[in-house]
Amino acid sequence: MTNHWIDIKNTDCCLIIGSNAAEHHPICFKWVIKAKEERGAKIIHVDPKFSRTSARSDVHIPLRSGTDIAFMGGMINYILQNNLYFKEYVNDYTNASFIVGPGYSFNNGLFAGFDPKNKIYNKKDWQFELDDKGNVKKDPTLQNPRCVMQVLRQHYARYSVQKVSEITGVSPDALVKAYEAYAATGKPDKAGTILYALGWTQHTVGVQNIRTSGIVQLLLGNMGVAGGGINALRGEPNVQGTTDHAILYNVLPGYLPLPRATMATLADYNKATTPVSKVPESVNWWQNRPKYMVSFLKAYFGKNATKENDYGFNWLPKGDPAKSEHDGDYSYMYLFDKMLKGEIKAGSIWATNSANTLPNTNKNRKALANLDFLYMAEIHQNETTEFWHGPGVDPKKVKTEVFLFPSCHRAEKEGSISNSGRLILWHNQATSPRGKSRSMGQIMIDIMKEVIDLYKDEGGKFPDPIVNLNWYKKYDAELVAKRINGSFTSGPQKGKQLNGFTDFADDGSTASLNWLYAGSFTNDGNRMKRRSLKQTPMQKAVGIFPNFAWCWPMNRWVLYNRASVDKNGQPWDPARAVIRWNGKEWEGDVPDGGAPPLTKEGGKNPFIMLKDGLGQLYGTGLVDGPLPEHYEPVETPVTNHGFSGQLSNPCAKILAGDMDKIAPPSDPRYPIVLTTYSMTEHWCGGSETRNVPSLLEAEPMLYVEMSHELAAEKGIKNGDPVIVENIRGRVEAVAMVTVRITPFRIQGRTIHLIGMPFAFGWTKKGIGDATNRLTLWAGDPNTSIPEYKACCVSIRKADKVTELA
């Protein structure tokens, strides 16, 4: 979230898209209701299914799954055609005036520079035009046909209400109602927020879905302000924190890019990953990258990281460069593919139910049996821990050696977690771990300690990163938290904790496991434990609690808050001020950098993480285009979407193996769209909540929601057992015939959509098995997030069922 949970109360319009917030983040929803009741905020819910979120909204937009860019493109077009954008904000704080280079083009669904063989773009022709001095050319009048504002207008002119209606299945009236309500926030004293969740990310156009919100929020001046922002409602318990700390292949902690094979030295790494800006008003925050990287290496390898050995840079594993769709991608989709092929021999699965929650389950379950050994840490048995004797599996044929460590419950350990609003919260230990369970931290420390000893005793392949590791004797959450924050390793303050970003150096004199968390555990102590609700009246008005726990970065509750004020530092809306320049200093939230307002000497642009400090209406950072464009899901019920001849994302990541079958567009065997979702009573793969009797009683078995019309067509009655089938798998479920889902009218024909939860699995007898046997491994080209939210299936009444009791 750029903003935070409480901040939702400040909004005038809440666009909830790709999220069922009322059911999946139930306790946050009171802030939505508060905005509605106390400010008269309009609530718009965009989701294929009518849910408890829709029931509390002013408008429900039931769109066909996978057509979000069409919907949002229509909104961009509506804002521009009707000149509803916030002009001062767009002129001062975005790249609307930048001139795109002459090589840029967009023809029939493809941008300039597409390489069809490798399914990647050469981005050379997307770049901005530079003058003799290397500065970006601009047209402040926004009239140049190649300036960003005009390119944007031209690109989205095709997204008429009528056309959007035909492909999304939403009536033109409903679209206009939603566009009108949201575009009304494009005024200085109005704010609109966008709340999204996995319904937006889990598509082969997932990142571009979110890019549309960036464009809309910049046009309407909604970034940085209270009641605004782009707010990912993080689903998992600490997924914010575990992402910050990089349980991911592509980044090191603190969003430092993975070193690649082309970077032979630390200097190469710094050169390739550190942006240089010529704009004097730009903070260009990432120019500090070398300081964060060296401090990180110092924390990893302690005193063994020295200037002479490049701080151990070459002890880190390096990825191959991303030269094609597949190269250099070590994410889940490739990981399980390599496991099936026998290239991955062993590994660990900790507190995640891969055999239930990953797409194309049949493939993943088969892949697990190819491993030599697997070590796991879990709180309950589930489909992953028990894969070796699952349905249709003969354990006598499974070679995999399995080690299962019991891990303890959160109440049995202490540590910090980061909520969706980046607030880092400390949880205390209530009791000791039950039985022989231990914290995952302790288990990892013990295993690695043993590995280090083995290498010290026996030697072995490339022991350097292992024997030089700055390792731990036992799990002490506060000790780790201190190392995450970081400390001075030499100089007058040696041994003292770092106070914040400005203390970092690139000469090895500071060490920190994650620069973003610097300030969380200072010499004053563990600030994540703070419980004070003390606020200034200004902070109180917008719901900021600067003395409760600690918010990264630098205890800043609203990111990009310098965009909430004009060039003189005065809030666009004084009644909802996040920060204000009082003539001498900033008041309110911690500002994005301490520089004075733009009109003062040394004033800086608001978007400090971007090279030029300006919001990117047009951006060259993504791999699949500088502007979002509608493409169909990889499995789609249509053959032509009407926006271009390019049916699906040309860069989508697709696997070619026998078990990764994809049905052709509009396959008559599988005419129905399937979308998947979670529910209030169960958690993700369900292995914890299925074992709580009251929750299982509330939601006892796998169901499939469908419209009355589809049920009538198929002769299915509410409560009938049915079979949902597609090119990859077959799933049994109970029919739930409901008015919550209605048929879609797409390009003049009726298309049905059904929805299924995925929390059920065979280890709890008779409740159903993995819905994900139907979903597919097709990934967003930027993130490799799989397209869980849309695939094609058939449905029929079951004669006999074996998975349901």
Binding site: T243, G347, S348, L404, Y475, V480, T680, E681
Partner: protein
């Protein structure tokens, strides 16, 4: 102190009776708080956080004799203000669930059963296999001849259930082994 199902039923009965009496003009709040006092009297209050969605609602665990005897929402957390959803409300039964894994288990190749093992045995055996696999499959250079120093033959599927500190430790270990195939729920 452990409650049997019978004790719980008795307490629930007392509560229901109190509510019925409330209709007759008796102040049932006194008897209700008395019932609560029985359960958490003398208990230590410890604040923890619900391990589900990242609203991160805080809960208060009441601890008595080393056991959690009650959980309730923490009104001091300004986001949740004491509220809990259907999942958060079951924290007590999650912690004390009979279904939880409490012993290290091992399944041998081609075996059809779990075997209980000691923690030390598990740690030693896992470490040995990691080392053997690493030594056998470690890759120094890639196909283009560039130095990569990595272990392509192993993977880690991790978890957002970990605290920040646990995540930091796990990532540090996996990368030190040379593993790049690292992923978790952020992508799924």
């Amino acid at each position: 102190m452990k409650y049997t199902r019978r004790d719980m039923l008795k307490m629930a009965g007392a509560g229901a009776g109190a509510i019925a009496l409330g209709g007759l003009g008796v102040n049932y709040l006194i008897s209700e708080s008395y019932a609560k006092k029985l359960k958490i009297k003398g208990a230590k209050e410890v604040i923890s956080i619900c391990p589900f969605c990242s609203v991160s609602c805080h809960f208060i665990a009441h601890v008595k004799g080393g056991e959690v005897v009650s959980t309730e929402g923490d009104p001091g957390y300004p986001v949740s203000e004491g509220a809990l959803c259907a999942k958060g409300s079951t924290m007590l039964s999650m912690i004390n669930s009979d279904h939880r894994l409490l012993k290290p288990l091992y399944r041998a190749p081609y075996s059809d059963k779990w075997e209980e093992k000691s923690y030390g045995w598990m740690v030693e055996n896992v470490a040995r296999r990691i080392k053997d696999t690493r030594d056998k499959h470690f890759v120094t250079t890639n196909a283009a001849g560039q130095k990569v120093n990595r272990l392509d033959a192993m993977f880690h599927a991790g978890s957002s259930q970990m605290s920040n500190e646990e995540a930091s430790i796990v990532v540090q270990a996996q990368r030190a082994l040379g593993i790049l195939n690292i992923d978790h729920q952020a992508r799924i």
